[in-house]
Symmetry: C2
Subunit: 201 residues, 2 copies
């Protein structure tokens, strides 16, 4: 019987990990380091969502421009358009959500026992925030496009030829929020994939 | 030993399901009827996504209106606005996706063995289509809101006071696409929840 006991090396007396040949009888427990790795990616993506949302809001809020043409100075500000107000509110919510879930995801790395519950809740909320950010990006993008190109049929004039700096801010803010949307899609994919990995084959 | 064999009824000779008392030793296999029930909900939701997207596209495409004011008749059509063209394309894609995945989900009810793989793929694609539909709803909504309220600061006049029928079509189409977005969120939730249910506790 002693020859089959492979948990101790007879030469050094130290314990060695069980060899791969013993895998046939009982399945090995799911490796916890891999789960932590995925949560490290999760934390990184969530922090990027926070950073992208914050950047997007800051660039949008600082997009004021005043142009002097004719007797009255022309002003452009994000809160002149309800679409851009909605954009700022939505991205602020996404930023807050990003930093809160970064902390939540870090807590899972410390206590991996709740990882399954957290994955489910993350996936649920990520989808909602994705809907919010995607619709806000669309709303602001639609309005910004009219500002850039105008619409002849409806006689809405382009305004980006006058407010060049303002429109550059808008474009930067929109690009960042599109990036945040992509990150949120990746986060839902990661949560779903992690849940899928936990299902025994 | 014969008294412990509970798989056959000694009176009728027919097989009976194992009683609940035998659950203690070996965990029972996951009940397939429940999985099929969830897929029935899945099929229903997917068909609703198809129906909502198709309705939304049809209402938008039939939103033509010609108004006779002054010498030249004024026309309003959805393809006068790039935002609404994007909306029609996105909702068409969602409708096609809806009907294709309805069939795929039906196939899982017939052959439940692939249910886990399908759940994962459904969740992956549903998230993408949700992003598409949410952004399209936002884009069209942002433009429609300017048409309804106008924007003084940018001197974009409201057009819904002239094109009343056209704007009613837009509103109906937007409400339906918002409904489709909600359905897609529910679908991702359902897939994630079903995957979560398959993880042994």
């Amino acid at each position: 019987m002693a020859s089959t006991d492979k948990s101790a090396n007879p030469e050094t007396g130290k314990e060695v990990p069980p060899p791969k040949a013993s895998y046939g009888d009982t399945p090995p427990p799911p490796p916890p380091p891999k789960a932590v790795d995925l949560f490290a990616v999760d934390v990184a993506l969530r922090f990027l969502v926070f950073a992208a949302s914050l950047t997007s809001v800051l660039v949008m809020v600082t997009s004021k421009q005043t142009v002097f043409r004719g007797p009255i100075p022309l002003k452009a500000k994000f809160d002149h358009s309800p679409a851009l107000i909605y954009f700022v509110v939505a991205l602020s919510v996404a930023g807050l959500y990003g930093i809160l879930t970064t902390l939540a995801s870090l807590s899972v790395i410390w206590k991996p026992i709740f990882s399954t519950k957290f994955l489910l809740h993350f996936a649920f909320w990520d989808v909602l925030i994705l809907g919010l950010v995607a619709s806000a990006t669309g709303t602001a993008g639609g309005v910004a496009y009219i500002g850039y190109k105008g619409n002849e049929h409806l006689q809405w004039n382009k305004v980006c030829s006058i407010f060049d700096k303002y429109c550059k801010h808008l474009a930067g803010s929109l690009a960042t929020s599109l990036f945040a949307s992509v990150l949120l899609v990746l986060l839902v994919w990661l949560s779903t994939f992690s849940l899928h990995k936990k299902i025994p084959k």
